[in-house]
């Protein structure tokens, strides 16, 4: 055995070579969501939230996930360099074959998050269940984490905000990013993007507990090839992609 801290990485590399784009078998449930937990029970390390995105089902021109995220979290939806984007749709093209893929890019909720490593105040943090968050009460807005993130997943709030969603406080001077809709997950709902993708009939996003072998996501990941974006960095991401 090597001393790698990611025992499952070898498997990922192997399976990554398998022909991509396999469709999820009809028998696999999309709505399998983890067992509920009482409000006084904290996030547990027996759970690790993750997401599997099937790029072959992610439709051209569709922005259901982005709109739902903006709505749930109170983002303006603008895409300028100073606007917050918690999920973006990237279009990648293979130069040789010309094949194109849509790649919804969001915080990858790494098991070894570089943003947490570099944060000078402890504001960037990983919850016991793997959700990577900014504790904005102690964020000083230095933006080291934004530079450390290989996925450009974080944004900085440059202007004062008003009329925030009471469930999603946001404000000027802090860094923020996808929270997997922690306010929804904690009440046993799916992240807004996943719900919207399913409602639109694409079912390109699957959310669930990677540690629970009975969960739909764990089953799908066992059955089909999936990869981490920039898997070479060894971050052990919670968001995995199929079909790229």
């Amino acid at each position: 055995m090597t001393t790698s801290h990611k025992p499952d990485r070898r498997d990922f590399l192997k399976t990554g070579a398998v022909v991509a784009g396999a469709a999820i078998a009809p028998g696999i449930l999309f709505y399998g969501i983890a067992q509920g937990r009482a409000p006084e029970e904290g996030a547990s390390s027996l759970v690790r939230w993750g997401m599997l995105i099937d790029t072959s089902k992610c439709a051209n021109g569709c922005s259901a996930c982005v709109n739902a995220c903006n709505h749930e979290n109170g983002l303006s939806g603008k895409t300028g360099p100073q606007d917050s984007q918690w999920i973006r749709k990237l279009n990648i093209k293979h130069l040789q074959t010309g094949i194109e893929h849509n790649l919804p890019m969001l915080c990858q909720h790494c098991a070894n998050p570089p943003c947490v490593d570099v944060c000078p105040t402890g504001a960037s943090m990983k919850r016991a269940d793997g959700i990577v968050l900014v504790d904005r009460h102690i964020c000083i807005g230095c933006r080291y984490c934004m530079m450390a993130c290989p996925y450009k997943a974080r944004s900085f709030v440059h202007e004062p905000l008003s009329d925030q969603n009471p469930d999603v406080p946001r404000g000027k001077g802090c860094v923020e990013a996808c929270t997997f809709c922690v306010q929804r997950v904690d009440r046993d709902e799916q992240p807004a993007c996943v719900e919207a993708c399913n409602a639109d009939g694409h079912q390109a996003m699957l959310f669930g507990d990677l540690r629970n072998p009975e969960s739909a996501i764990a089953k799908a990941m066992k059955a089909y090839a999936s990869v981490e974006v920039r898997g070479d960095l060894g971050l052990n991401t919670g968001v995995r992609y199929q079909g790229i």
Binding site: F30, Y31, P39, E40, E41, G42, A43, S63, A64, N67, A68, N70, H71, E72, G77, M125, R127, A128, D129, L133, D135, R136, H137, P160, L161, D163, Q164, N165, P166, D167, P169, R170, G171, K172, G173, C174, V182, D186, R187, Q190, A192, E195, A196, N198, A199, D200, G201, Q203
Partner: protein
Amino acid sequence: MARFAYWLKLAALLGVAVTFAAIPLRQATADAKLPGLENRKGDKCVEDVDIIRRNHPDLLKHHRIETLRHGIRTTKYSLKGCVECHASAKTGSVASAKDDFCVTCHAYAGVQLDCWDCHASKPKTKPVQATEQQASPTMNPVQTGGANQ
């Protein structure tokens, strides 16, 4: 030696005096009849009045750490809870006018909060639906999630 005892006694006396003086000081905010404090729902707060008056900063800070960092979602000391019960009938908010609940005392005591830069100072209500339509004109409303699965 006698001199030392004298100072000791004086110090003790002073200590007692300061303690007694402090009590009326701490209750000053409570005793002052400030406008806006009548904004409340129900007949009981989440703690006895003398406890919530004194300890709400600590209770809130503790709850904030529990919720954000540990994922504990109890509602007793939730800031959202304070807002729901204490929003003013006039402004609908706890912090948009000078006699709104979370402002009136703080102005009197010289305390300034940054909470409302991020946290909504109004309870969650219907207007959510209005923004929903403009926010996502091209997609099915989020609420129907799963309906056409």
